[in-house]
Structures are given as structure tokens and as C-alpha cells.
């Protein structure tokens, strides 16, 4: 893969059929380069969730182009999109969405489930990913035995276990107290410095202000973009291994 942008949105519009039609996204355009840490910030109802779904290929735009790792999403069928999600995109959700009956290690390993990787490979990668979020000691614990912050760390490990091109985090601290939330943001920061491309969606300007780049969304439009950080820096970071 050449060094093009990891994520490109070009005049993306999402309309929901209603009377009158609801325009959730209105000609949204921006790019995320490899190694960036971007915050998309906006009040509720600004189209953040729709944007996340469109960027994550869980939903298709009504108009406009979405490219992930150079692949035009509109050219791909359901199976190919699923393959793209399995390999190129990692999701972090506000509600963690962990399987309660499975250990932290198995939950993280599930991040590679639909890549067809054999169980041994998934286990090794999961152990590594858990280590990188500082939960190596909790590998055998099940989610109910973990604190909220630890659960979100497991979910983060699951998102990065397959070394995706981009990690999409939807209000990653929304279910956590502020102190725990801060440690999660520190972790995302650390992972970004280790080379991961991360896009955080939040309604909280305080969180967004910690990020090198902020994209502000209001009523489905981008009203401000603090711009891309110096690219040379990020390219160097991307070449370093994500997990040591």
C-alpha cells in the first residue's frame, strides 16, 4: 500500500428518507493520514454517529465517496466490506460490547475472528495486544470481573489486535468517570505515538482539545478543521512497530 491517506471522505452526504428528508451529513469532506490522532467533535444530533457508521463502512453514504486504505467503499459488495472491516478498521464503542462469558484474552482474540486466522495466531496476537494496553495480568478475567476502565482497555486491545489501518473510537470515555476516562485517553495517545491511526468521536471539547487535530461537526457539516499535523512526523511514526 502506498502512502496515501488512510481515510478519505469526499462530499459525503447521508440522507434519511422522511418528510421532509433528514440530512444527517451534508457534503462532508476530509482526509485522515496515516499516524494521525483526530477528534471529531460536535453536539448531539450533529451527525457524529452517522459519520462514524459511514466511515466504518457499516452504512453507505447517499452521495459522495468514502475511501478506506484507498478502497472505494461504493465499489465493494457486502462480503468485501466485511473483509475491509475485519482487516482495515478497528472499532471502539462507548458500551465496550464485550462478550461476558469469555475471558479478556478471548474477547481480544475475537478481533481477528473474521480474518480466518487460526486460534493459536489469534491467541498470540491477543496476548500481545492485551500487553500493549497494560492488561497482561488480566488475560484470564471475564468482563464482569473487570473495572469499567479495564473493560474499555480490553475493547481497545480488540480494536488494535489486527493492526488495522484506522481505529474508530465512538465516545470511548462516555461510560467512564473522568479519572478513568483520562487514563483511556492517555492510552490512545500512547498507541498513536506507537503508530496507530486513531479517530475519536466525542461531544466533549475538553477531550477533543487534547488531540493534535480537531474536526468540528455541526448539523451534518464540518464547521472547523484544525488541519493536518506535519506529515513527515507521522510517517516516521507509522514505520515503527505498533506493538513492542
Amino acid at each position: 500500500m502506498t502512502a496515501g491517506p488512510v481515510l478519505e471522505l469526499d462530499a459525503v452526504t447521508k440522507r434519511y428518507p422522511a418528510q421532509p428528508p433528514v440530512i444527517a451529513l451534508d457534503e462532508v469532506s476530509f482526509e485522515v493520514a496515516r499516524g494521525e490522532l483526530v477528534a471529531i467533535v460536535g453536539p448531539s444530533g450533529s451527525g457524529k454517529s452517522t459519520l462514524l457508521h459511514v466511515m466504518g463502512t457499516l452504512d453507505r453514504p447517499s452521495e459522495g465517496t468514502v475511501r478506506i486504505s484507498g478502497f472505494d467503499v461504493s465499489q465493494l459488495n457486502d462480503r468485501e466490506l466485511a473483509g475491509l472491516r475485519a482487516t482495515e478498521i478497528g472499532f471502539i464503542f462507548q458500551q465496550f460490547f464485550l462478550a461476558e462469558h469469555a475471558s479478556a484474552l478471548e474477547n481480544v482474540g475475537d478481533g481477528l475472528l473474521y480474518t480466518g486466522a487460526p486460534a493459536a495466531v489469534r491467541h498470540a496476537a491477543a496476548a500481545e495486544a492485551l500487553d500493549s494496553v497494560g492488561l497482561a495480568q488480566r488475560a484470564r478475567f471475564r468482563p464482569p470481573q473487570l473495572s469499567g476502565g479495564e473493560r474499555q482497555r480490553v475493547a481497545i486491545a480488540r480494536a488494535l489486535v489486527g493492526h488495522p489501518a484506522i481505529i474508530l473510537a465512538d465516545e470511548p470515555t462516555g461510560n467512564l468517570d473522568s479519572a478513568t476516562g483520562k487514563t483511556i485517553l492517555d492510552l490512545l495517545d500512547e498507541l498513536n505515538r506507537a503508530g496507530a491511526t486513531i479517530l475519536v468521536i466525542t461531544h466533549d471539547h475538553e477531550i477533543a482539545d487534547r488531540m493534535p487535530r480537531q474536526v468540528e461537526l455541526r448539523d451534518g457539516r464540518i464547521v472547523a478543521d484544525s488541519g493536518v499535523a506535519p506529515s513527515g512526523q507521522m510517517m516516521r511514526a507509522a514505520r515503527e512497530p505498533l506493538v513492542r
Partner: protein, 416 residues
């Protein structure tokens, strides 16, 4: 590919898109089996209850087929032990609907047929039999008194369980032998010297008791006396009413064909010829026909079980929306989601089916061993039960699985 380069093993499993597109999502079958069993492992009581309907249905089917196969097998063993070469000649009816008479010479004539090995005969008398003189005349117990030839037990496959059978000496004297049922009804279970019964207005001495004659059950409820004694004491006319004979095994049909004409050359149409073991065989077959009803009940139970499984799967899909959404986000295709829930339904029914087969086999084993029958579970019973369970799971799981697969990932991820 991009950041995955430092993790070649994970990526190697994916097949690259032929047109240079992204890799296509792929799930190993072992993993599919594992995630299909999540619902069963995490909601055990619910899974057990919904599998119960299937289990009961399959158990009913297996048990019904097993029980009938066991008792048929028992009957067939009995038949082959008793031999299939017994033929029975009875007096039929004349053209005018009256009871016909077999000629007195018929047994002797039949004995002259080449492949006939042995012949015995009985002739019914009009006498009644009582335990003593004090029994009211109407209490006959439905017992008949028959004249019988001396070789009878050997020919019909019965034997003496107490005392002895009629012989050349006792055949002419007031001596009786009891069929096993007649002995029960008269209240006689052992033989001691001087034991008498009141038979046709005379005291007859009891010589012995016969075992059950499966091929000639009419003998069981008879009191047998010698032909000579019957003529002398009971006013018997000497005409046999039933002739039993054993033919050589390979000549049973040939003998069967000539019996009527041999027994009564003048009016062969007055003679009925039958093969009692064939009748038993037919009874064994007829038993399976009766099973239709119980199989129907099993099928209804299976249907109810199927509705239960479908119901539980619909609820499961509703409850696990966020899991479905997460799986789609992790790279599951619609096909993966469909296969997961379909496999879960099949697995659920399969567990029910396996438990049902176990229960059915246990029920058959208990019942058959209580009746001293061999335990026979026909392959069609357990294979059919298992097949039915799989089919039911597939049918019951289809609609919920399709619904789960149709669910859009964004709807699935939206928390309620």
C-alpha cells in the same frame, strides 16, 4: 498490507481479492461451531427447556419403534423356535353354511403324504368340565373338552410342565390332560395321584398340564382326553375337528396345496387349511401398523418442539442485537451471521435429538428387559430421530437467522 505488515500470520489466512480489492471476510468452521454454541453455553436453562420438546418427540419415536421392533423380534424368535412347518387342517363349512365334518380317516390319510413328518388331531366334544360336582352347571369357564391324539404336544410345539401326557393306556380311560390356561381356570397347578375333575358327568383323573402352545392357542383353554375315552364316556362321534401336522421345511407349500383334497377327497372345499406361524408373522407385522398412532403423537411433539426452538431463536436474535452489530463491525458478513444463528438452532435441536434418542433407548431397554424380550433399536429409529431433529432445527432456525442477517449493523449497534 499497511500496518498489518508486521503481523503476517494473521493476514496470511486471508485470501487476497482476485481483482486487487480487499481481502474477503472468512471464518473458520471450528470457530463457527464455537460461536454457534455460545447461546447454548450461556443460557443453559433456556436451551435445555427449548430442547426438551424435541427430546420428548424423538424419545417417543425411538421408543415406539424400539418397543415394536423388540417385541416383533421376540415373536419372530419364538416363531423360528417353534418352527414354521406346522400346518393346521380344520373342518370348514359346507356349501349351505353348516359346520362340516372331517372324515375319521383324515389323519391317517394325511400321514401318508410323503413330506409329512408327524400328525396329531383333536376333536371337539360337547362335554363341559368342572372342578367338582358342586360347581353350578353354567360356570363352564369357557373351557372346551377335546379328544386328542397321543402325539399332540410334540406336533404343536408344547410340552408337559407337570405330570404326564396321555399314552396308549390312559387314552382309553377317564384321564384328562389340561391346557395351561384350563389348568389355571380350574385352579390346578400341580398333579398329585387321585386328583379328579368332573367332566361330562363322570370323574376324570388329571394326568398332566401342558405348557402354552403358541402356535395352537386353542389348546391352552382345552381339557384333553383320549379319542377312545371320549367315545366311551362322552358320546364323541370320532370325527376330528383339527388336524395338526409337521411337513418337511422345504415342502410346506406343496403339502399345504394337497391337504384339503387328502383330508376330505369328496368335498375338499369343506376343509380349511392354515399355517399358524404365518398368522403369527402377520401379527408381528400388524403390531407395527398400530404404532402409527404413537408415531403421530411423537411427530406432534416434535412440531411443538420446533415451534419452541423457533420462538427461542427469535428472542435470542432480539436480545443479541448488539452482539450482531459488534460481529458485523468485526468483519462478519451477513452470511456469517445467518450461519451462526442457523447453526445454533440446529445444534439446539441436535442436543434435544440426542437426549431424546438416549431416553428412547433407555425406555425400550427397561420395557424389553422387563418382558424378557431382546432390546432392538432399528437404525431407522435413531437415524430418523436425529435426522428429524436436524431438519427441525434448520427449519425453525431459518427465519430467525434470516432476520438476524438482515439486521443492519447500524440498527444493531444502536443501544436501546
Amino acid at each position: 498490507m499497511s500496518a498489518s505488515d508486521d503481523h503476517p500470520a494473521a493476514v496470511a489466512a486471508l485470501t487476497a481479492h482476485p481483482n486487487g480489492g480487499p481481502a474477503v471476510g472468512h471464518l473458520r468452521s471450528a470457530d463457527m461451531l464455537r460461536i454457534a454454541s455460545i447461546g447454548l453455553r450461556t443460557r443453559r436453562v433456556r436451551a435445555a427447556l427449548s430442547a426438551l420438546g424435541i427430546a420428548i418427540g424423538v424419545a417417543a419415536i425411538v421408543a415406539v419403534l424400539g418397543l415394536s421392533a423388540s417385541s416383533s423380534a421376540n415373536l419372530l424368535t419364538e416363531i423360528s423356535r417353534l418352527g414354521t412347518n406346522l400346518l393346521e387342517v380344520t373342518n370348514g363349512q359346507t356349501l349351505f353354511g353348516q359346520t362340516a365334518e372331517l372324515p375319521e380317516a383324515a389323519p391317517a390319510m394325511i400321514r401318508r403324504i410323503g413330506p409329512v413328518e408327524s400328525v396329531a388331531s383333536t376333536g371337539s366334544t360337547s362335554a363341559s368340565v368342572y372342578r367338582s360336582r358342586l360347581i353350578p352347571a353354567i360356570n363352564t369357564n369357557g373351557l372346551s373338552v377335546d379328544a386328542a391324539s397321543t402325539g399332540l404336544p410334540g406336533v404343536v410345539g408344547s410340552h408337559v410342565i407337570a405330570g404326564s401326557y396321555l399314552n396308549a393306556a390312559t387314552e382309553t380311560e377317564p384321564v384328562a390332560v389340561l391346557g395351561w390356561q384350563a389348568a389355571q381356570l380350574l385352579g390346578i397347578d400341580r398333579i398329585y395321584p387321585g386328583e379328579r375333575i368332573w367332566l361330562g358327568g363322570t370323574w376324570f383323573y388329571v394326568a398332566g398340564i401342558l405348557s402354552a402352545a403358541t402356535l395352537a392357542p386353542e389348546i391352552d383353554s382345552s381339557v384333553l382326553v383320549g379319542f377312545t375315552a371320549a367315545e366311551r364316556y362322552l358320546g364323541f362321534d370320532g370325527h376330528p375337528t383339527t388336524i395338526y401336522l409337521r411337513a418337511q421345511n422345504n415342502a410346506v407349500n406343496a403339502v399345504h396345496n394337497v391337504l384339503a383334497a387328502t383330508a376330505d377327497p369328496e368335498t375338499p372345499s369343506n376343509v380349511d387349511v392354515s399355517n399358524p406361524s404365518a398368522a403369527l408373522q402377520a401379527r408381528a407385522d400388524a403390531q407395527s401398523a398400530l404404532n402409527g398412532l404413537f408415531l403421530g403423537l411423537g411427530a406432534v411433539s416434535l412440531l411443538v418442539g420446533a415451534v419452541g426452538v423457533a420462538n427461542i431463536m427469535v428472542i435470542s436474535v432480539l436480545e443479541r442485537r448488539s452482539e450482531i452489530g459488534l460481529r458485523r463491525a468485526l468483519g462478519a458478513t451477513r452470511g456469517h451471521i445467518r450461519a451462526q444463528f442457523l447453526s445454533e438452532a440446529v445444534l439446539l435441536s441436535l442436543v434435544g435429538g440426542a437426549v431424546g434418542i438416549g431416553l428412547g433407548v433407555i425406555a425400550t431397554a427397561i420395557y424389553a428387559s422387563a418382558k424378557h424380550e431382546p432390546v432392538v433399536i432399528p437404525a431407522s429409529a435413531w437415524a430418523g430421530g436425529l435426522g428429524a431433529a436436524i431438519a427441525i432445527g434448520a427449519i425453525a432456525g431459518l427465519l430467525p437467522a434470516l432476520r438476524a442477517a438482515r439486521l443492519s449493523p447500524t440498527d444493531a449497534l444502536r443501544t436501546v
